[in-house]
Subunit: 599 residues, 2 copies
């Protein structure tokens, strides 16, 4: 059966392409800032293809339309695009061309590829320009055709700004701008353009609500040595924010004024920018007009290395958040009839408990609550409609966190709901050992996560088991739960940098075992990088735990631990009891004592 709705939308898109003399049009899945989640306004790819998945790119010509997506979505995409005339291109499958190969093959000399340069990454834009340029195909990145065709397009997300107290931030906007200008001067740059939303929020000491779970506002900034320009939707600026910006001599512009501003500015010096963190449109406009120095945004490292205020608040917030999760585990353990709850209800329960914490702003991400085999899917999310009923056996994995005035948390615990097998205990113990060993590492300044990853992975690798993800990611302060540049991974990917660890950075430590159709285990603590001893051999660093939640002893089998591992677990549990005791009621405390007993 034909999908008339999508076919009509594509017909209108093709008409717009003809009007703009475009032969092919490309629609990726991204907002203007390559945020982790995209809001309705940015779902043009879904609008024109019917495919609702979180990743995919649509390419439309006068006669064809192709959707590229990855293995997670083949079945769903096939179903959703049925009857639309769109062809599915299964990425990474043998014989399936990449978008680049497809365009190179299909497009002819003299033709034009169009896309909205504001949602295409600089890397992709430059690659297409180069490949197609060789065939005398031109690229037009100036128009967002969706805007012309999509009549009932949702509005841009738009929420009032939150201005953070300076006392919560440790440094004022003026101090932070001075730090950035120092870096600009070092690179002999007179200007800096910023599009990375968490960097922007950090720099201005503001927060927004324009991206799901990321407390950020859609915005851009342009700094010279004298001026600070912020581009943001007028409606987001509360009276308080207005006064704050005025006081800090921030010149305000509309969100969509960034492009005319960059085009018309009278440049008299070089511009510092991070190509990776700018859309193709912005990069082209800037680099066409003045010499650009392509380096990581100074804000990236400044933000990643938390200051004392941020660290003190984070430490406190992590204990409060740990107490919530521990109380939740207690509830689940005590629950007489486990079948009275499903995964979704359990997730709602822990979310509601978090909402009670003073300073709660939002969840850090949608809670993952996976029972039994559902936990083997790393990013499983139970819904009100689609979920598993709990039972008095097997394991429940809960990965959750909150945004608070004082920090962003992230924690995963897997725990027994009843009977568990020897194999589950073995795997759970190896995961706990890996987590504890990495957290206990002492290492020379200069190490990156790449040097350390094996400490978490080795107990599993020894058994021929791997988890197909990094061991850890950086975490923001009242900001994105995934934050760079630091990470703990054993190999590079295009998306992951290899950044040295510095004191004040916060990283996750989350090894796991994922057995498809059986179960999933993940134990995730968050670590702070701290100074350790300094001697003739150098400056040593180590980690300090931020997370204090019991590791389920019902799943620990000492057979898989060395004495040192047992010491680490016992020491951790002593700390957990000590930190959490003040938050527990009498009944909970009795249980906590037992849950953190020495083994």
């Amino acid at each position: 059966m034909e999908n008339v709705v999508i076919r009509e939308r594509l017909a209108k898109l093709r008409a717009a392409m003809q009007a703009h003399q475009m032969d092919f049009y490309l629609i990726p899945t991204a907002d203007y800032h390559h945020s982790e989640y995209v809001d309705g306004f940015f779902k043009a790819r879904e609008y024109f293809s019917g495919f609702t998945g979180s990743a995919g790119t649509l390419v439309v010509s006068m006669t064809e339309a192709g959707l590229w997506t990855d293995g997670r979505y083949f079945i769903q995409a096939e179903k959703e695009i049925r009857g639309t005339g769109v062809t599915l291109f299964r990425m990474l499958e043998e014989g399936v061309p990449t978008i680049q190969e497809y365009l190179k093959d299909k497009m002819e000399s003299g033709q034009t590829l169009g896309f909205d340069g504001k949602v295409v990454s600089t890397a992709l834009g430059e690659e297409l320009e180069e490949i197609l340029g060789k065939k005398q195909v031109s690229v037009c990145y100036d128009y967002d055709l969706a805007q012309e065709v999509w009549t009932d397009r949702p509005k841009l997300p738009n929420h009032p700004l939150l201005v953070l107290e300076d006392s919560l931030c440790g440094k004022t906007l003026a101090q932070k701008v001075a730090q950035v200008r120092e870096k600009m001067a070092e690179k002999e740059c007179a200007y800096h353009v910023l599009s990375k939303l968490d960097d922007l929020m950090w720099l201005f000491n503001i927060r927004g609500k324009d991206v799901t779970c990321n407390p950020v506002a859609l915005s851009y900034a342009f700094l010279s040595m004298d001026d600070i320009h912020l581009f943001i939707q007028q409606d987001e600026i509360t009276e308080e924010a207005n006064a704050y910006f005025a006081k800090n001599q921030v010149t305000l512009h509309g969100y969509d004024e960034i492009i005319p501003f960059l085009k018309e500015y009278s440049y008299a010096g070089k511009m510092l920018l991070d190509k990776k963190a700018l859309s193709f449109a912005l990069y082209k406009i800037a680099s066409d007009r003045t010499e650009c120095v392509n380096e990581a945004n100074p804000t990236e490292l400044l933000k990643a290395i938390k200051n004392d205020t941020e660290l003190e608040n984070s430490r406190r917030v992590y204990i409060e958040d740990s107490a919530v999760l521990t109380k939740f585990i207690f509830k689940m353990k005590q629950l007489e009839d486990k079948t009275s709850l499903n995964e979704y209800e359990a997730a709602m329960m822990v979310d509601d408990m978090r909402r009670e914490v003073p300073g709660f702003l939002d969840l850090s991400f949608d809670t993952i609550c996976g029972f039994k085999e559902n936990a083997a899917m790393m990013h499983y999310e139970a819904t009100a409609e689609d979920h598993k009923q709990l039972e008095p056996e097997g394991m429940l994995l809960v990965d959750s966190g909150g945004q608070y005035l004082g920090g962003t948390t992230d924690v995963t615990r897997t725990f027994a709901m009843g009977t568990v097998t020897e194999k589950m205990k073995k795997h759970f113990t190896l995961v706990a050992v890996g987590m504890l060993r990495l957290a206990a590492a002492k290492f020379l300044q200069g190490c990156s996560g790449r040097n350390l990853d094996i400490l978490a992975r080795q107990p599993l690798w020894d058994m021929g088991i791997d988890y197909k993800c990094g061991t850890g990611h950086g975490i923001g302060y009242i900001l994105n739960v995934h934050e760079g540049p630091q990470n703990i991974r054993w190999r590079y990917t295009a998306a992951s940098t290899d950044s040295v660890l510095y004191p004040g950075m916060i990283v996750s430590d989350e090894p796991g075992v994922y057995l498809e159709g059986e179960y999933g285990i993940r134990t995730e603590n968050i670590l702070e990088v701290v100074l350790d001893e300094k001697n003739g051999d150098g400056q040593f660093l180590s980690f300090k735990m931020l997370t204090y939640v019991p590791i389920d002893l019902d799943l620990i089998d000492k057979k898989w631990m060395q004495p040192r591992d047992i010491e680490l677990l016992n020491a951790y549990h002593r700390d957990v009891y000590e930190k959490l005791a003040p938050y527990m009621n009498e009944e909970e405390l009795v249980w906590l004592k037992e849950a953190t007993r020495e083994i």
Copy 2:
């Protein structure tokens, strides 16, 4: 007092510079192939400055002469250049200009810097060209002025070639050339020029004796898809070699004909070359004449991944070599009067014992035999004149190895000569634990040494101790004892690549503790990378020991070991006993049983 000899040499050099219209002349310390050691012919820097150290660069102008060397040599250089008019530039000291800075500062528009482009690295040559080019200073790399001035210059090293049996190499010259041509075709290159001596020896299945301890012959090669050209000193070609090359259709040229050949060749395609492994002169000549693709030499990885023949021979040779060192340790342990020997005599003893092994060709490097605090110097070498007498206390470190028809060995053992302290035992045990843990690693294909280094280092880092060198280096097959691209290091340096480990690679595993003025400990085993299990999580690799020499139990303190470490040590010692027993006489066997006892 004036050093008239050096002053006269410098005067002649300046006259030659004037004749060639050069204003400054630079002399580094290198042969034409950047070998690890340089022969007398290549010691022009020493000839014109009097400084005999192994590293340094001399820059001479009409009025000044400067010698750049590093901290190891400040005292020696100061002494040796006294009265020569040469000024010492202490590298890396504050306020001391680099050579580049010095030349940029001193040279004026229109002047010329000269150097022999055959001994200057492409990196340095290009850097100088770029820096000086901006000042309109030109670079002339065509002349070796030493050749014109240095009348009693030693001859080029020159020794008859050894042609290895194909059965010793596993692959014939023709097969290896075919492999290289496959890589050339992949890179769409018609030509390949090769200057790296160990790569050349591997490719042609020949060995030489032109560089100390490196069984290589001075040579170059040029491959097209049809022809094989070898440039080598005529006298090195024995009758056997001549027949061998004829049979394999290798066209022979004089060693010094490489430059005219490259200049006059009629190119009809791209050339594959590795800039890092070519002199500036060769690179310039090649890249001026045809398009070059700058990639690692295909031979580098082909050579590093040993074939089955090479591995089988290496395994056998390593056991024979291990037996020698073990017998030596036995002798030293039994020695009634320890003071009857000095470090140098002990080194000679182990060298002589190695010479008895069938197939012995040479030492892999000059034996390091350091007693007590001398062992804290990583590259200490006792001499007939300068050495320490042994005593019945403290530790002796012996790092040694041999070149055999069947492999290149390298092994370090540190052992007690008598009374030792608790601190020594602690450090020795931690080093042994680090060595054993790395050797026991199981890891996914794709790991480099960078991922694994911490396994060897962690026991020491936990105590705030580091060793200021890599954990391991690659090793050749009847070739250089230091061979790339693989290594085990925790961070990059300009000189060390980050290469993935492949089955068939051979690497050393040599953590240590070096306490200046006290003692040095190093325990070095050589490991072969082998395939381990393959499952849904990927292809795992692990290491197999090549070295089987007891680890001195007199220095082991179980207090610093986890049960798993003790298991590893006991398992290793069981293997040592089993592998070495056939080589031991009755008395040695009794001792070996005790030396490898279970703890």
